[in-house]
Amino acid sequence: MSDVEKKIIQIPEITRVEGHAAVEIDIEDGNVKEVRLDVFEGTRFFERIVLGHKYDELAHITSRVCAICSTGHVLAAIFAVERIFSFTPTPIETKLRELMHLGMIIESHATHVCALALPDFLKTPDLASFAGQHKEKFLLWTHLRNLGAEIQTAVGGRPFHPVNLHVSGLSKIPSTASLEGVKADLKRSLDEAISLAELVLSFAPPVERLTEPYFLALIPHDDKYGYFGETIQSSEGWQRSCQEYKEYLDEQVVTYSHAKRSLVKGKPVMVGSMARLALFGNRLTREALNVYQATPLFKGDSNSIWNNAAQAIEIIQAIERAIEIIDEVETLKNERTPEKKPLGIVAGRATGAVECPRGTLYHYYEIDENGVICAADMITPSAQNTARIELDIKEVVSQSTEKEMLGPHLETLVRAYDPCNTCATHMVAINWK
């Protein structure tokens, strides 16, 4: 028998996150030995499911990885396939895809910030008390998420699992009347989004972060703040094409969890709103930039719990940018549209990447000459963030003197990452040549 004192802190199920996860922390003689984020959501083997299907079915299947970021999965798959076919959609379709994506950003961020993260700070353990005691905040959420849903319904046909986004473009261009309706609602919502950001910024994080994060995000393909691009920027200064993601991201299987995790040269990374703001915050739209410049984030405080605020700032940006896009689409409608090129099916392989609400999402496909999928790989934002979540927990527990009391704060910390465990557990390994 040793007289070393061993303890385990367990959080058996983290509520208010997507999918199912638990945290286990081993403490030996007051030192944190190990932290395990156990994602026990069932596995769905998406990389296997798509095999044998035609390229045009990818949108239908991959959206089902995750409801809340289904638009992101659909677009990543479409971008990969269109790259293989060397196809470019019309400018109007490209704009509408971006508008659709912003709808997802608004809906996802609003749901996470208001309905999943805010109750920690308002101390409302159940929905009835949240809706009853904080009616205006509850309504803030309903309005903003309705706005995101309205955009995605106007462009994609429904609030998630879109049916109007395809390889080669859209099956129907939304009418001017529906886009003008969306625009009016966007304008009405801007003030609400700003007040949400101010509210979230008023809650100081209950725990500190000790080491600086290693951020990764896609460089937006124009000079604006955005979610589509080809090249990854890191906070260490390097840039790499997303086609080479296998060379900078190492994927590992861990025995205790259904989710895999990705590291960069052995180091945990952080992707998502905070990474995007840290790397490209100077490109924000007017009001979003105003709010951002007054935050601790702007001054370099990288506490993960500020991710809630970073998401709220991105809602403001998404609203401002969506208004611009609708105007650009309407202008394009009045111009002569270039003839749509036919889709030429060829064999090939490529990666498509997008910035999802929670960070960079990669989809890789190999397609044969009949347009059938013969290999697939997906790297989700949650898989990239997991190691950093574990490191954060380890740091917080290590510095604390009242370790047993930490449970609720740790949950707040994990939730701030907005981990999507339904997303993280779809993996199938493939052998790379």
């Binding site: 509520t15 069932g42 769905r44 044998g52 035609k54 309905a115 159940d126």
Partner: protein, 252 residues
Amino acid sequence: METNPRPCIAVEGLTGCAGELLVILENLDKLLPFVRVASFPFAQSQNDDGPVDIAFVEGSVSQPHDLEKLKRIRAKARWLVAVGNCAVWGCVQGGACAKCKVTDMLEAVYGQHSEIQALESRPLDAYVNVDVKLSGCPIDKTQFLSVTASLLKDHLPYITHKPVCLECKLNENPCVLIEKNLPCLGPVTAAGCGALCPSLGAACYGCWGPSQAPQMDAMATILSEKGYEALEIMNRLKTFGAPEHLFERMNV
């Protein structure tokens, strides 16, 4: 005198995409005046395991943990409502299990000696008695609210399983199968979405699951007349979890 306690509901997820949880969360403001949310781990941290009047369950049974959870939910619920294609049919992960063995998939992902357990992905009624099956991917919010309203009044709701074509005709859409040769699965897919895809000029891909008595053989015949190959037709028809026995009469 004590007033009658409000009916209790539970909203639980097994293995799925959380789509139904989102639809329910987003429409909860309409239910909150009438029910008490006893358990909804996706949306609140204080949950109790006591008996409930209605349990809504999303996702399919894909691991032993799901099965234990489902049995617990069944035991505490008066009405068990399977919500979404995953819970009713098994969705895309169910469709894949029809094509390849789950043990192979597991080995391919986590290696031979993994501690991770998986079951062949199955809908809820493979294991427990299900009172109401509300399909959709995701479910339609109007259908969800009307099913809930019926159950709160002690009525088993009526849910139509007529094909998507019916709603498509009511919308007066041109038929994309006949006129554009798109692989529209509307004839064999249950209605409920309002013929969403064909109304946008795209083919229905079957996300609501099979309609009542789907004529899979006739569907396959027309698709092969349109130039689709047998393997592709079967792949498309089986994507969203249509069970094997519906294909017995076919010889593709």
